[in-house]
Amino acid sequence: MTISQERHVLVVFPHPDDEAFGVSGTITTHIKQGTPVTYACLTLGEMGRNLGNPPFATRESLPVIRKKELQASADAMGLTDLRMMGLRDKTIEFEDDEKMVGLMTDLIEELNPSKIITFYPDFAVHPDHEATARAVVRAVRRMTDRPTLHCVAFANNTLEVLGQPDIVYDIREVRDQKMNSMKAHISQTAWMLEEMEHKLQQGDTETENWLTKERFYNYRWHEDFEKSF
């Protein structure tokens, strides 16, 4: 499946590194194709648990580290419009829901994206992911001329309920950029990358597959996650 030419792509996730694993290949490809991409990252992952033992950071110094990592990931993808939205990790679902929709609506009105990438509501595992997905879907739902909405889903019941992903992009050409985006978040990804390298060396096809393909679901407006808001 080739990655479509777009007017503007808006990516909305709550944590530095959310972009790296699922969509950094897609972001890189859009940028290489000349499409402007904006990444709105809602928090700085202030509550990340990987602080090392012996610790390399404290609860208070972690955001400084993760902010630099986020910028490095953006650089790895060639992304120049990075927005840090200033919310606090693990609190998004407790923000006023209408305020969250407003935040998304403001971004959409400013950027006029033809495609938005976020998580799939109810299939996004982390409460911040879910709250982000809900806010984006609600903002887009209100639009008369809706952009394409590509959602990342990885809950354990995803395949069972949503079936196979609608969109599978081959991102082999930008594999290095994807790897560099993941490596940029080294404070949080070190152990995961180590495990991945090990699996790749053993010829694990699932891991290889994961590095060469990115998967999305079109948001199913006919099966909207809520009847009203």
């Binding site: 404290t58 609860r59 200033g86 911040d128």
Partner: protein
């Protein structure tokens, strides 16, 4: 951060006693605990920038330690504390890091508010 030495940490706790201090208290299993282990009951708590004034602070036990703060009308305590640091802003940061390097508990006090 360095490993808790009870005597040294006790001195730091004493220094904050009887003063209004901002509290950060957190326990966590991580937001993915139930994703990786569906039977896991995920519980945690988080408080940030609540002002307390404790009359007595104590660190007790072998590592991982317990730390308790006695208030005029109540208590604050954390268990699982392994590391501490008096940071460059004079804030006393205590944390419990498990064997894989993940934070499980944090108890922090400061005379100025912690960031957002």
């Amino acid at each position: 951060m360095e490993l808790v030495e009870v005597k040294k940490l006790q001195v730091e706790l004493d220094a904050f006693a009887g003063r209004d201090v901002y509290l950060h208290l957190e326990t966590t299993n991580g937001s993915y605990a139930t994703h990786f282990n569906e039977g896991f009951f995920n519980a945690g708590a988080f408080i940030r920038n609540v002002v307390i004034n404790y009359e007595l602070g104590k660190v007790v036990g072998d590592s991982p330690h317990r730390v308790g703060l006695k208030l005029p009308h109540g208590w604050v305590y954390a268990q699982g504390i392994t590391h501490y640091e008096l940071d460059d802003q004079g804030r006393l940061l205590l944390a419990g890091h498990d064997g894989t390097g993940k934070l499980a508990v944090a108890l922090q006090i400061s005379e100025t508010p912690f960031s957002y």
